[in-house]
């Protein structure tokens, strides 16, 4: 058996053992430790299996014809799926180690501890599924396990129940769309396996193909958190325990992207331009909407959830651009765009999971989630603070970390693709560049806000003042992801060949040939490995050299600590600092046509005189525009329809019999 096959088997076995261990161990702390370690091993084996497939390019097969009635389970991990399994494996490893310290006090119940490895196993198996039945079974299991995990803390916070309801309903609506889609595909090919579908889909009627694509976008897009089907994301991700949020935001939403790429490029083999324009538009809308909501949000985890929507939007822009380049005859650019997408999938998994784990550490150590009540954590929780700062630099796409590499590649493919004869490309691509650039700037602003107000300066509440650093296992989990971010930023060439094979495995896109910078071609980062390493080395060296040189100054290395310049005030308190809401105010003001903030100011005057103010209460609320304009009318409409439909049920037995009789007549006539 090959390395990949051994690792894959090991992953499954260890995962199953983890579930059993969770149920059988009695002592809570030991249960958390053993389950955590086993889940981490399971994830790590998955990571090894995926790297094996990426290194050799040879897929891994497995068939279990009797495990499921009619069709059985069949798995085939090809390089495209392996990219996603790589991301899953890495995040599972880190989250599981983190979970040891995070859950040992209050979440160490048997069912919770068993659900986490179960969730991890489903995440590892979905990208490997190669038949309709297998895919849908594990997709649904993934949704169920994550739903139960979101409910884990429902006793502590009532919002968790609301979040779980939204999540449950939306994921099942998406499931229905996917079921319809797969049924259409399988009906046409006569067989549920992906290979058969791929072979027969080219003979499908174009209208039917478009319907399949739309269903895929709806079903997978809602899982990915694409606008306008994103409403569950900012509710569910903050309410889940932090390592589960890391898994959901870091990798589960990516499986939605996997589905779109697999169906759009692989199973259907490409399509007309309007498909990809639709994806581009939805991606651009998600990116802009997500980051605007993130910048206006003061809740740390909600901000991270909206930021996930934004990154999914960027990924979908890349997918749309890749498809558009394929249909207009630029296969090299399409390959570059798709490579950027896959690279960003891995990078985002790494830094978003890191950020969520750090946020969880903050909640664990300080007990607060609201940025307006945090602060001063960099000195009280130094490791968590440094991890968050690293994640923030990575997500803002700044050199030398990994976010920069994938954003660079995406922008390069878009810039080089703007000059085209095809009208649709010539218009869509510059707009896409503008959107990507604007979100890059806004992301930097958002994460400066989060890091600055959450971690720097003075604590804004007693809870933040009493914050303590988290247990070692949590720090180790975060450290693993942080080192991945640094590694992928400095040595992105490590992934280069693997991503090339993954792109080649996607049907309809040509394998990228090596090409150079001059002329109208571009050079992918894995061919300029020296670039990123040189940049990173230069930056780190520069900072180090400067810090050392400063010690040789006449004033010496000693640094005197003194009070700030106060402009006449007597004492520095936390009330004088900028809060997260005030930091974001200029940007919220610029975009107030999109965000529609409600500002509510309530002034209480003193009893004695109207001229003296006793208390002022300010409330700034930003509602989700899609929920107000789209969801509310739809839900009201459904509610009204439901009330109308109650008239059908008036209690009369004669009427019910009449319905059955009418149905019988209609069936007879229709199927004669």
């Amino acid at each position: 058996m090959s390395f990949a096959e051994v690792s894959a088997t090991a992953a499954m076995v260890v995962g199953a053992v983890a579930i059993i261990a969770a149920f059988s161990i009695g002592d809570a702390r030991r249960r958390a430790l053993v389950t955590g370690v086993l889940t981490a091993l399971c994830g790590f084996s998955g990571l090894l299996a995926a790297s094996g497939v990426l290194a050799t390019g040879r897929p891994v097969h497995a068939e279990f014809p009797h495990l499921l009635p009619f069709a059985g389970l069949s798995f085939r991990l090809d390089p495209l799926g392996a990219v996603f399994v790589l991301a899953v494996g890495g995040v599972v490893t880190a989250a599981a180690v983190y979970g040891i310290g995070y859950t040992r006090d209050h979440l160490s119940g048997r069912s919770f501890q068993a659900l986490v490895p179960a969730f991890a196993l489903t995440l590892l198996l979905v990208p490997a599924a190669s038949s309709m039945g297998t895919f849908l079974v594990f997709w649904e299991l993934m949704a169920l396990t994550s739903l139960l995990l979101v409910l884990a803390e429902q006793r502590r916070s009532p919002e968790a129940r609301d979040a779980a309801m939204w999540y449950g309903v939306m994921t099942h609506l998406g499931f229905i769309a996917l079921l319809l889609m797969f049924s259409l595909l399988a009906a046409h090919s006569g067989n549920g396996s992906f290979l058969a579908i791929e072979r027969s889909s080219s003979s499908m009627d174009p209208a039917l193909r478009s319907l399949v694509f739309i269903l895929a976008v709806v079903g997978f897009g809602s899982k990915a958190g694409m606008v306008p089907l994103h409403a569950w994301l900012p509710r569910a991700h903050p309410e889940a325990p932090s390592h589960v949020s890391a898994l959901m935001s870091g990798v589960m939403v990516k499986l939605g992207v996997y589905g779109i790429v697999r169906v759009g490029f692989g199973l259907l083999g490409g399509g007309p331009s309007w498909w990809w324009v639709v994806l581009l538009v939805l991606g651009a809308a998600s990116a802009l909407f997500g980051i605007l909501q993130a910048i206006a949000s003061s809740d740390l985890k909600r901000m991270l959830a909206y930021s996930t929507t934004e990154n999914i939007g960027l990924i979908l822009i890349g997918v749309g651009a890749a498809g558009l380049f394929t249909t207009t005859g630029h296969p090299i650019l399409a390959a570059a765009a798709l490579g950027a997408v896959l690279l960003h999938v891995i990078n985002h998994a790494a830094f978003k999971a890191l950020l969520f784990l750090a946020a969880g550490s903050v909640v664990h150590g300080a007990g607060e989630r609201n940025l307006d009540r945090l602060g001063g954590l960099m000195r009280r929780m130094p490791v968590t603070g440094a991890m968050f700062a690293l994640g923030a630099v990575a997500i803002a796409a700044l050199p030398p970390l990994n976010g920069f590499a994938s954003e660079w590649l995406l922008l390069q493919s878009l810039i080089h693709g703007a000059d085209s004869q095809a009208l649709v490309v010539a218009i869509a691509v510059p707009l896409a560049i503008a959107v990507v650039a604007l979100t890059a700037g806004l992301t930097a602003a958002t994460f400066v806000k989060a890091t600055g107000t959450g971690f720097l300066a003075l604590p804004r509440s007693p809870a933040a003042e009493a914050a303590t650093e988290s247990p070692r296992s949590m720090l180790v989990g975060m450290g693993f992801l942080a080192s991945v971010c640094v590694l992928l930023g400095v040595g992105v060439g490590v992934l280069g060949a693997g991503i090339g094979r993954a792109v080649a495995a996607v049907g309809g896109v040509r394998k990228p040939a090596p090409f150079r910078v001059h002329g109208s071609t571009l050079s992918p980062p894995w061919q300029v490995v020296g670039t990123s390493m040189a940049l990173a080395a230069a930056l780190v060296l520069g900072v180090g050299v400067i810090m050392v040189l400063l010690r040789f100054l006449p004033s010496g290395g000693r640094r005197r600590r003194a009070d700030n310049w106060g402009c006449g005030r007597t004492q520095q308190t936390a009330r004088m600092e900028y809060t997260a809401s005030s930091f974001a105010e200029p940007l919220v003001r610029v975009f107030d046509d999109v965000l529609h903030p409600d500002l509510d100011i309530d002034v209480t005057h003193r009893q004695e005189s109207q001229y003296y103010v006793e208390k002022i209460r300010l409330r700034l609320g930003i509602k989700d525009a899609f929920e107000e304009r789209l969801y509310r009318p739809v839900l009201n409409g459904i509610h009204a329809w439901g009330i109308w439909a109650r008239r059908l049920q008036n209690g009369s037995v004669h009427r019910y019999l009449g319905y059955a009789f009418a149905a019988l007549i209609i069936l007879l006539v229709a199927t004669r």
């Binding site: 009208l423 010539a426 218009i427 610029v590 046509d593």
Partner: protein, 219 residues
């Protein structure tokens, strides 16, 4: 002059006209908007003069110069008189705010370029390549006409629209229509004079040039 220099100069003048049109959406002071209109009119008329030079036709050059005087001197002077008569010198917040108007202008220009591609591909001449810019000016002018609150600013929008149409006509017919051009400009001057009287009456009635006040003229 050489073909490439001619094409470059043509592009430059058309580009100046377009940028001036976009800038009228950005500036708030009415006097500045009228000055931008003068610059824009001068550029459009200069295109006519340039085409006349290229065709070596003296009549065209003279007629285009006449249009230049009308567009860049006479009409702006009349407009300045309208502005000075009004009680305020700035444009209040237009129906669509400034940043959104600029973004809308970018989209309109994109639409103009996209939809005139077929026209451009009909001919290889440098004039045909500049037609999309003319259409873009037309759309931007119409947008300004529809979304400004103050009467002088709306007039400027109308005149931008007019200049855009003139530019497209001059380019499409490559100079033959300079007589028509001059006639149309005189008609436009007449329209502006009538509107000047109208705005004077508005100022007397409402003590303001804000067009929303016209909604009060109902039974």
């Amino acid at each position: 002059m050489s073909r490439s220099a001619y094409a470059d100069l043509l592009n430059l003048l058309a580009g100046i006209a377009l940028v001036a049109a976009v800038l009228t959406l950005w500036r708030r002071k009415l006097i500045a908007i009228v000055r931008l209109l003068a610059v824009q009119g001068a550029a459009v008329a200069a295109v006519g003069i340039l085409i006349g030079i290229d065709n070596d036709s003296a009549t065209e050059i003279v007629l285009a110069s006449g249009a230049l005087v009308l567009k860049a001197v006479v009409i702006p002077l009349v407009l300045l008189r309208v502005v000075r008569r009004g009680s305020e010198t700035r444009e209040t917040e237009p129906l669509v705010n400034v940043s959104a108007s600029l973004v809308a202008a970018a989209l309109l220009i994109t639409i103009a370029f996209a939809t005139t591609r077929a026209v451009v591909s009909l001919s290889d001449s440098p004039e045909a390549g500049v037609i999309p810019i003319g259409f873009a000016i037309v759309l931007v002018g119409f947008f300004a006409l529809a979304t400004r609150r103050k009467a002088p600013a709306q007039l400027v929008g109308f005149l931008l629209f007019e200049n855009g149409v003139a530019l497209v006509a001059v380019l499409a017919a490559a100079g033959v229509s300079s007589v028509v051009e001059l006639g149309v400009s005189l008609d436009v001057l007449l329209a502006v004079l009538v509107l000047q009287v109208l705005t004077a009456r508005m100022q007397d009635q409402f003590d303001s040039l804000d067009l929303d006040h016209l909604q009060e003229l109902r039974d």
